[in-house]
Each structure stands twice: as structure tokens, then as C-alpha cells.
Assembly symmetry: C2
Homo-oligomer: 480 residues x 2
Amino acid sequence: MRYVIYLLILVYEVQCIPRNKNSVSVKGNVSNIDKCTNVLPEDLKEEIAEYQDIVNEILQYVIEGDFKGKTYDELAKFVDMFGPRPAGSEVLEDSIDYMIKLTNTQKLYDVVTEEVTVPQWKRGKEKIVMYEPRHKIIPVLGLGGSICTPPEGITAEVVVVKSFKDLENLKKHDVLGKILVFNSKFTAYDETVVYRYDAASRAAEKGAVAALIRSITPFSINSLHTGMMSYRENITNVPAAAITIEDAELLKRIYDRGVKIVLNIQMQSTRDTKISRNTLVDYKGIQNPEKLVIVSGHIDSWDIGQGAMDDGGGLFISWAVPVILRRLHLLPKRTIRSIFWTAEELGLIGAFAYEERHRNQSDNINFIMESDEGTFAPLGLSVAGNQEARCIIAEILKLFKSINASTLIEDDNPGSDITVIVKNGVPGASFYNANDRYFWYHHSESDTMTVQDSHVMDLGSAFWTAAAYIIADISVDIPR
Amino acid sequence: MRYVIYLLILVYEVQCIPRNKNSVSVKGNVSNIDKCTNVLPEDLKEEIAEYQDIVNEILQYVIEGDFKGKTYDELAKFVDMFGPRPAGSEVLEDSIDYMIKLTNTQKLYDVVTEEVTVPQWKRGKEKIVMYEPRHKIIPVLGLGGSICTPPEGITAEVVVVKSFKDLENLKKHDVLGKILVFNSKFTAYDETVVYRYDAASRAAEKGAVAALIRSITPFSINSLHTGMMSYRENITNVPAAAITIEDAELLKRIYDRGVKIVLNIQMQSTRDTKISRNTLVDYKGIQNPEKLVIVSGHIDSWDIGQGAMDDGGGLFISWAVPVILRRLHLLPKRTIRSIFWTAEELGLIGAFAYEERHRNQSDNINFIMESDEGTFAPLGLSVAGNQEARCIIAEILKLFKSINASTLIEDDNPGSDITVIVKNGVPGASFYNANDRYFWYHHSESDTMTVQDSHVMDLGSAFWTAAAYIIADISVDIPR
């Protein structure tokens, strides 16, 4: 938990670094059903139970009916056409325009975009060559935000540690002028990702000239995983990059034998500031249109792979919500707003901008949902909110027993973008799904359509749509 | 089975292409214990049972005693020092010299090498760029033996098929001048590897200018897998390379939408002929030194990764056999010969040379063993031989119940190199082990020490050593 607290400080107080994906797999506790005994009035339970027919209608339409395969197919067309969509790129803006048009083809015209100033970090040439003890090209992927090396690269001896604690035990002259390799084994994302954020500063503090981290993943087939890093104030900035588990272990073995290792690291990148956009699709409520139930995913991705999982899947099941409801002529009391966040990967930039712009309307957010931890088989929701709020959601989740998606996880900090809003006390949830292999693909070249499954995406769209609809339609607001 | 027959023809009659690794996982049938009832005389069974103490002594020494961790550590030092060891390279010859010295340090001096003329296929620059419908670099790994493209590459439109049968249904003018992509899903290695061998000729037959295959693996994290390919006589030679499952599926999706795909493929390579060596380490029998029990693995590897699995593991558990026996002062009646084959990957070149050179002594081979399908947890042996031979081995395997390695697989064609000798009627076996994920790493950059486990390698060395010792020491020859 120390790491989580540390990270939260980084996120909200120091540098606005994303705490994205730190709740994948069960972070909170599975809710004990007994906690809800006598919390909800019987008539509310009965009211919720009456939505079973609508849930079944949505499931049928999406899984076996006219919408079957649509989420997967539209996502595939989208990611195949645009590929990766890094913040600040033209391709991201083109993909936003495409999503607006695609939404319009579904006869949904209540679409607005809100401009957001976003940072751009553009990867250039990256290469590591091992000079000693033998020549070897070491595949490398720079961490987002890293500075460049000089054009000729940095050539230095290597020191390998397994943890920050290991590093503390080294004397400064052991590290001075060297390349520090952190061979930190993946335990949980929360715990291990601190090496991605902080390795550069920790290494520089000890006088190292560059930091290499073992890719943040529990499993590798020579895979490279990038992601955002950060520099602490008043500490020299040094380049930081990821290498594979295989190469981190190779360097560790050689180092442990007392054999001298010399690497040359070359990394180039450029920085800029650009204008991007959050996209808001409103499906107006017929009774309280000012009250919002938000579903969301982010449209930007890292600059490799296709961003089909992170977060193409979340984007498209959120896109599907108003599309499916309109096709089925289901009109909720409150407005359902589908948001396609921009620039999540570089620090929840779109979400921060939205929160600032709409702060005075935040009382109107009845519930906020986000899918940014995979769209594998749905299991339920990870929910932030008071006990009564959680019990209402738990009661709604009972309607998804037929697809085994009735689990409620108690999580005070669900999601990534929505943490910016949930921290203000707005109740919300992230999509709890069977994402055991999520980090095998996360922020890597393998984040492609190959990880998605058409039927499973149908389950996700149906679940997401039905859950949002019920929350937007029941007689009570989600309490705070 | 049609494919297996087809492959066997390729192997033995037409072009001497390796049939390597086509028996990974259970190819044959698990032997029914009832088959051995009344086959062996009781006194032979009793004699074999008496080896239990020696088996236990070897297991104890290797798993918990002074040899604990030695196989893994020596393999790690070896592959970390040399990296990939392709046939024809200087590094392969250096690694052979190293193995001789390493063997000598174990007070084993009966080591000879036998020269073998080997082909060399040296990979040059390889690159694929998708020009249409959008710019994308497509990672590529040329197949061993492929010809080059012109320096500027081949630029052509793409046709995607899923099988040779699919291709047959296309008209020649649909394929003429195009790049043919085989998006063939992995079923079993035997069945799917035909696309690696034969895609180029099948494509050229229809007028295609290059062939790309989906990497031969059941699972991918954007992984590329190479391996040997072949050209049929009287058909134009065209370049052939592997792409990832992810990219093969991407191309298929785009193609299925009717969208034009244009690729530029650049592939360079050089060919030569070099001298390499098989290495023979003899641990002399004290009663019938002319009779041989052979244990073996190959020392060469593909030109990527470390060749730690294919076949560093098999090499080192075979190296360990005489080392362990000498240390334990166990002296078998027959000679145990440990062979480090050369140039397996380019067509069992070392094994063919050995067979030719020693053909007139082949009656002296009592049993031949090979490990070239992984050194994961030992399960038993895949055995070729007559019923009596198999029953003797089955009786010996009973002694390995404590490590769950008592399974006998009936396999008329075990191993890769040893098939060259087993086809002459010599009884033999390959190492049956828990290699379910073997093809995840096979012939790829991820064939590194990361797939190996120190304790599991101890189990393998102990099993391999004890099995070879008993076969070399029992009172009866393995019958033919």
C-alpha cells in the first residue's frame, strides 16, 4: 500500500502522472452480500428486479441479434485504419473525426468535442548495443517523457539491481557514471510500476547516467512495454527505457558473475504541445436530462501496437451504449453521456480538462463509468461510493447472472481517467473483467485485435449498456 | 497424417530438410502397460528393479547434492557467452571448442570431433513496409534458406489465403505478380510447419513474387518464428519470410474488407559452405566398450535468441550424463557416448554425416537418445523399437515414479537428429517432457534462459543420466 500512496501523491500533487491501470485484477475486496441486508428498501429491490426483461432484451440483441459482432468489427475497422493514436498526433485527431462520423451514422447527432491542450512526446530512433562482454543488439523501448541521449549515445558500464532498496545499499561511487538496470520482478502492477515512473530519478540521485527497467509485465516473449515515466524536481534528468525480461535477466546473470558489461544507449525523441479533443456523445434523458450517467474509454493509445485493448475496447463498448439504446428505442430518465477521453496515456490530460471545465456541474453526475482495464469476459463492476450506492449497484448486478457478471468489487479508486472525478466524491465504477493476461499485452506492440474476441466483446457491450441504462433510469439517484 | 508422410518424403528422399521438432507433445500413443505382460522374463524385471538404489543416488546427487543447479548454471554461462550459434558461424566453432574444454575440466578426456561440411545461410537486412492502405512497419524474419529480394525490395499487392487448399481455388491471374500471405492457424506442428517449408514453392507455382507465412506458433506476443524452408525443383524461387500472428491477422482483416494492400519486402542474405564438427564424448564401458548407448543434443541454434531451449537444454543434459556418472564413480558395462550434433537446424547435417561415417558400426548402437524438444519437467521417453525393446524401457521408466517420469510414448520416429539413425532400425528415444509451451519460444528471439528453470533442469539431467546408465549397464542388449 505504501506504493499506492506514493503513486497517488505523484498523480495528484506533484506532476499529474497517470495512475492508469493500477487496479487491474482485483484490487479491492469482493463485496460481501450480507453487507447489503436491510440497506435497500424492498420496493427499490423490486423496481430493480423488474429490469430483468430489459437486460435480457439487450443481451439477446447484442449477443445473438442484429448487433452480434458489431463491437468487434467496428473496433477492428477503426484500429486497422488508424493504428496507434498517440496524444498530439494528427492520426489521433483523424480518429476522433472518424468516431464522430461513425456516431452520426447511427443517427446520434448530439456530439460535441471540447478542446484540450495536450503534451506530445514523439519517439525517435532508439537502439542499445552491448559492447562488452560480447556484441549484442538489445531491443529497447523508451519510456514516455524520457529525455534524449546525445546523438552518439551514452556508453557506460552497467550496474544491475533488483529494487530501490538494493540501490540504497550501493555506494555512490559504485553507481557514478554508470547505467543502472532495474531487474524488478513483476508482483502487482501497483507495486512494480513505480520502477517505470521513478527509476530515472532514483538512478540519477546516485549519479547514474541512464536507467533501464525490466518491462512491467508478468510474462514475456521477448516483449517490450513502454508507459509514462516522470522526473523529480531538483534531480538531474537522465534517459530511461524499458528492455525485455529476457535481457534484464541476461544482464543480471552476467553482472552477478562479476563480468564487466558495457552498453551504448541511443534514444531520440521530440516534445511539443498540441490541441486535441475530448468527445462527448449525449443520449438525452427524457425526465432529467441534466442528470448524467457517464460511460467512457480513452481514444488515444501508446505509439506502438494498435491500442486495440488499451483502450480501443473500452472506447467501443462505451460508444456502443447509446447506439444500442437508440436502436432498441430504450429511453432512460437521465442522460447517458459517452465520453471518448483524449491523452489518457500522457497523464489523464483529457480527464483533468473535463473535470476543470465541468466542475460546477459535477453534482449532476449521477454515476461515472470507465472501461480501461481490458474488455475480456465481463465479471461485474469495481465500485466507488458509499455503502448504499454500492448496494444499489450490487442489486443491479444480480440481473447479469446469466453471463456470470454479478460480482461487485469494492474499490475506492476505480479506473484511470475517472479517478479525477471520483476523488471529488462522485460515485463510479470501472469494468471488472477477466483480464488476467492484460499486462502481457499492455503498452506493447502486441496490443492488437488478436487479443480481442468478437463474442466476448458482445458480452461486454451488452453488459455495459444494460448496466448504464438501469442506473440512468431507476427512480433514485445514486447516493453520495 | 498426410502432412507427416509428405514431410517425411521431403526429409529423406528429396532434399534432406529437417523434420525437427515434429513430435513435440504426444505424437505417438501412451503405451498400455498390459502390452508388456509376459513379454519380459521375471529375472530381467528383477534385475531392472535392483537399479532403484542407483536411480535414487543419482536423483539425490543432482537434485539436492553437489550437482544441484549445475546444469542450469553451465548452460547459462554458455549461452550468455556465445548467444546464438548458427551453422557455419565462427561463434559456433568457438562454442564447440568451449564445450571440449568444459568437458575436460570434468576429467573427461575421451573427446573427439568429426568434421562436417555445413551450409551457411546468413541473414542480412530484412524489412517490410506496408505502403497501402497506410504506412506501417511490419516486423519480419526471413525463413532459413530463402533467396534475397532485389536491393530495392519487392513492391506488390497482397493476396491472403488461409491454406494451400484456399490457394488452389484461386485463379492464376488473381495471384500473378502478387505477394501471397498464408494466414494458416497453428493446429499441430507437423501439420502447420508445411507452410514454412513449402509456402514459397506453392506461391511461385501460382505466379506470386514472394510468400509470407504466419509464424508457426500457437501463441504470440507479436513474436516472429523462423525455421528452415525449401524450394521444389523446377519452380521459380521466390523469397519467403515469417510475420507475426498479429500482422497476418491484420492483413487478412484488411484483405477481407476488399481494401488494397501494398507491401515492400526487402530481404538480404548470403550463402556459403563451411566446416563444422560433431563432438563425441565417450564414457567407456568396462565390459563391452564397443557397444554404445548414445545421448545427444545439438549445439547449433538459429541465429536469434540464445538457443537456450533449442537445443541448449538438450545439449547440457546430454553433456551432464558422463560428468555425473564419473563423479559418482558409476561404471556401466557399455560405453555411453554423448554427442553434440552440429548444424541440426539447417537439415540434420551433423547427424547425416555421423550416420554415413559410422554406418558399418551401427550394429554397435545399443540405444540412441536425443533431447531436442525442450528440457521442461521430465515425463518419460518417446520410444522407437520393437515390443520387447519398449517393454524393457517401460520397466526402466518405472524407477522414475518419484519424479513422475514413468510414461512411455510409442513413437516410431522420435527426435530430430536421431531419426537419421533410428530409420535404420536402431532402437532409440527422445526426451518426453512437459513442453506444452515449447512452440511459444521455438526459433524465436525468446528462446533464452528465461524459459529454463534450474530445478527442472536438475530433474532432466538426473533422469537422462540414470536412464542412459541403466540401459548401458543391464545384462541384455536392447533387442531389434
